[in-house]
């Protein structure tokens, strides 16, 4: 018991350490100068060190306020080359003087993109302003550029509306996580494998959709379906080629987990090898306007994503509850040895689980690609959130994975409204993961050998 108290104290201590960040996020307002909290004089005038190599120095000013610098806005720089898509080289956030410094690989043409979401509350770009600025760096070293924007005041959005917007995107995100979590949970349940390459299965779905869409030229919807089918095939193939032989050899779970780390590393780099490190988008449904549905507004694709996820999850649950296959899967996950001795073809069941699990995960990737963009790291970045979702609800249980993922999705999106720094909104979910492990380990634990 003392340990638990100590832990709680330590966690509280840790959260207190984070407190300045939270407090600071709340005080952000257009009039304040937020990069340096007042009261720390050592920070005033402290300039960022300049990079040694080439860089672009962008000064962001507001021409509607007499050229006042705009702090705290995130700028992303992408290199533009003839005949290929822009490739991100870096990002930075403007400081007090509205200056952001981004290192670049050398002379060339770059596009600076402004992240509208990071503009101060109550301000938005006016119609005369673009979010992009093209810069040509001709010489090495520093390239200075001014980025004047025009802003207009908007009515402060009421909290309830912000909340419902965040809630909606949380539900959408949660459903996407849930699809992947369902896949992870199924595979864990039947094989005991903690699959660290699961994130790559998400990326694979997205990437396949991109290849079918941009490479072969199929419409996005057809490409998406094809990607899910191909994912399912990949699930079957990787079980047959990798995991089934390992199971037959009697490889331990920890060893398999490390193999999955190697597999993930391998896939990640193969993905990057194939599509490069920039973000890509599909050919359709990229920028859709939103429609109002009562208090919430959603783009058509967002609505479609929510509906598709919900339908898929429902069907999967029905399949698992009602059909022979589902019962077999649950039997194997309960007790593989007993299932085998009662005449069940355990290997076939596991193979089916891999197919289903990878297909669900691939679908999650496809929908993510439609929702935003494709990047070789997208799945890996999501992996911990998927783990968190699965762990939160209780591993191995379908409902647990769904519930946990929804909680994680909503926490990530709604958290910033309650002071979680928005640039690291995933942190909240991860902290919750650790807290759950602390207070309810039985909710997340699978089976242990019996003592004695």
């Amino acid at each position: 018991m003392r340990q638990r108290v100590f832990t709680l104290v330590s966690v509280v201590f840790f959260l207190l350490l984070l407190q300045p960040a939270n407090a600071f996020a709340e005080t952000t307002s257009p009039s304040a100068s937020p990069t340096a909290p007042s009261g720390t004089p050592s920070d005033e005038g402290a300039e960022e060190p300049l990079p040694d190599g080439d860089y672009i120095r962008v000064t962001l000013t507001d021409r509607d306020k007499g050229g006042a610098p705009v702090p705290d806005v995130r700028l992303t720089v992408a290199a533009v080359e003839e005949g290929s898509e822009p490739e991100d080289v870096g990002e930075d956030v403007t400081d007090d003087q509205g200056i952001a410094i981004i290192e670049t690989p050398g002379p060339g043409t770059y596009v600076v993109t402004l992240d509208e979401d990071t503009l101060p509350d109550g301000v938005e770009l006016n119609d005369a302003t673009s979010t992009e600025l093209e810069i040509t760096a001709r010489l090495g070293g520093a390239t200075n550029a001014a980025f004047p924007i025009g802003t207009q005041a908007v009515n402060e959005v009421p909290f309830s509306e912000k909340f419902s917007v965040a809630m909606m995107s949380g539900i959408k995100f949660g459903l996407l996580v849930a699809l992947a979590a369902l896949g992870l949970s199924l595979i864990f349940g039947t094989t005991g494998l903690t699959n660290f390459a699961h994130g790559e299965l998400i990326t694979l779905g997205a990437l396949l959709a991109y290849v079918f869409n941009r490479g072969i030229g199929l419409p996005v919807i057809v490409a998406g379906i094809a990607a899910v089918v191909a994912s399912a095939f990949f699930g079957w193939a990787q079980d047959k080629a990798l995991w089934a032989p390992l199971r037959r050899r009697g490889t331990g779970l920890i060893a398999m987990m490390i193999v999955s780390i190697g597999f993930g590393l391998f896939l990640r780099n193969v993905f990057q090898y194939t599509i490069g490190s920039s973000r890509k988008s599909l050919s359709e449904y990229v920028n859709q306007g939103r429609r109002d549905y009562g208090p919430i507004s959603l783009a058509d694709k967002e609505l479609a994503i929510i509906v598709i996820s919900l339908v898929t999850i429902t069907i999967t649950c029905i399949v698992l509850m009602r059909t022979r296959l589902g019962k077999a899967m649950r039997a194997v996950s309960d007790n593989p040895a007993l299932s085998a001795s009662s005449g069940m073809k355990v290997d076939r069941v596991i193979s089916n689980v891999w197919i289903l699990g990878t297909a669900l995960t691939g679908l999650s990737g496809v929908l993510l690609a439609i929702n935003s963009q494709i990047n070789f790291l997208m799945g890996f970045k999501l992996l911990l959130l998927v783990f968190a979702g699965v762990t939160l609800g209780g591993l191995g249980t379908i409902w647990g994975a769904l519930f946990g993922s929804m909680v994680i999705g909503i926490m990530v999106e709604v958290g910033p409204l309650f002071g979680v720094p928005s640039s690291i909104k995933e942190v909240g979910a991860l902290v919750v993961l650790i807290l759950v492990l602390l207070v309810r380990p039985q909710g997340i634990l699978g089976r242990r050998e019996r003592i004695g």
């Binding site: 060893a255 987990m257 942190v427």
Partner: protein, 445 residues
């Protein structure tokens, strides 16, 4: 009711000789030839190193009672194989593609420099920590990058943000990973191995995100990180101010060039400090692991309940192991921060932990020198591969057809290979190069 099952009565005791065993001379020959092969002899002695190594192993296996030194013979063989592969590649490429673009000598030099240089040291230190966690105690810590990050930021934040003296920074850097281990250990050490992995990986990611966040920029420097704290360390560089032949004067060279190796004075200084640190850590691990304390850790790795039933406080020992390994991790971070004179959050990603694991598994878990050798081999391979493919894709008319690989893709091949290598290693030789299969932690469970 009688549950007797037949157990083979293998009561016949095996020969248990205890007389002094000696190392066959072939072992030494093999190692010497192997080392020559990958350095001065450009691979030509390597095939002989393999042959001698094989002879030595055969001799040892034939009469294990008389001979020992099997691991050394394996080293000789491995050196021989590396050198031979290099020799063959070098010869084949030299004669097939001519000398078009690829300078194998340069590739080898880069690989060797990296295998001995500061980068390998960082990974060696991190992997020594993981060896204490995973190799000896069975704790699956996937958050070593987090320990490294708090070590590095401990120094940088103390000196830059809080404007405190360098020495205090070092102290904070050593204290921070200990604190992290305590805070992390209490909730997570009760968990099963794979959940411990998830919890630690999550903690490391939380730390990286918080250190890199815009909102904490005033403390941690955001995504650009912190620098200007390593002056004291750089000023202490003996190669800058001191020369055996010319006391008081600066050393008479800019770089140390030893034909196959070349190091800047700055790297040379870091290497002296780094290898001393590695030696110190290995010494500590060696001394601890041969004690009853080390025996307890290995026992815990195998079966916690058995250890509990003998009246040992398993939790306390796991915590001690977590703290010790975390401290080594923090040291790795601190060393990284010193040698590159800047801390950047993206350095402390999960990949860092994974690569340190690869280093550990190459060398062999639960072996004192395993992580060190592993880190050197890892860096030899990945930097050699990088250099090779960079050269193969460089220039206007590269050796490698551009539809197959371009210059940006060249640097990825090595990680594709590392991923594959980790899988194969885990499947076919989980004990690594030096490990003893009967004694490793990884099977079972």
């Amino acid at each position: 009711m009688n549950t007797t099952e037949k157990s083979p009565a293998t009561e016949e005791p095996k020969a248990a000789p205890t007389q002094a065993r000696r190392t066959p001379p072939e072992v030494v020959t093999s190692i010497v030839l192997g080392i020559l092969g990958i350095t001065l002899a450009l691979g030509f002695t390597s095939p002989f190193a393999i042959i001698k190594g094989r002879q030595a192993v055969a001799k040892i296996d034939e009469d294990p009672a008389r001979y020992d030194g099997r691991p050394l013979a394996m080293v000789g063989q491995v050196l021989g194989i590396v050198g031979t592969v290099w020799l063959v590649a070098w010869l084949v490429l030299s004669f097939t593609v001519g000398f078009a673009g690829i300078d194998m000598f340069d590739v080898l030099r880069t690989a060797l420099n990296q295998a001995l240089g500061p980068n390998a040291i960082v990974y060696a230190l991190a992997a020594i920590g993981l060896n204490v966690h995973f190799g000896y105690t069975g704790l699956l810590n996937f958050g070593q990058a987090g320990f490294m990050a708090v070590g590095a930021y401990g120094l940088a934040v103390t000196v830059v943000t809080w404007d405190q003296p360098f020495v205090l920074g070092i102290l904070v850097a050593l204290l921070a990973p200990v604190l992290l281990a305590l805070v992390l250990g209490v909730p997570t050490l009760r968990l099963r191995a794979d959940y411990l992995a998830i919890a630690t990986i999550a903690t490391a990611e939380i730390l990286r995100l918080v250190f890199g966040a815009v909102e904490t920029k005033s403390v941690f420097g955001g995504s650009n990180g912190l620098n200007n704290y390593a002056g004291t360390y750089q000023d202490a560089n003996i190669f800058r101010t001191w020369d055996v032949f010319n006391p008081g004067g600066a050393l008479g060279f800019d770089r140390l060039d030893l034909w196959i190796m070349s190091f800047s004075k700055r790297d040379l200084w870091s290497m002296v400090i780094g290898w001393l640190l590695v030696a110190l850590c290995c010494l500590v691990v060696w001394a601890l692991m041969r004690s009853p304390w080390g025996r307890l850790l290995r026992a815990i790795r195998e079966d916690e309940d058995a250890v509990r039933s003998l009246g040992k406080n398993v939790f306390a020992y796991k915590m001690q192991a977590l703290v010790l390994g975390g401290l080594f991790g923090g040291l790795a971070g601190l060393y990284l921060a010193l040698k590159q004179a800047s801390v950047v959050p993206s350095d402390y990603s999960t990949n860092m932990t994974f690569l340190a694991f690869v280093a550990l598994l190459i060398g062999g878990a639960a072996r004192v020198a395993g992580p060190v050798i592993g880190a050197m081999i890892l860096w030899f391979l990945i930097s050699g591969m990088r250099e090779f493919f960079e050269q193969a894709t460089a220039g206007a008319d590269p050796v490698m057809p551009t539809w197959l690989m371009d210059n940006t893709q060249a640097s990825l091949i090595r990680f594709v290979a590392v991923g594959l290598g980790l899988m194969l290693l885990m499947i076919f030789r989980p004990q690594g190069i030096f490990g003893d299969r009967r004694e490793i932690a990884i099977d079972g469970r």
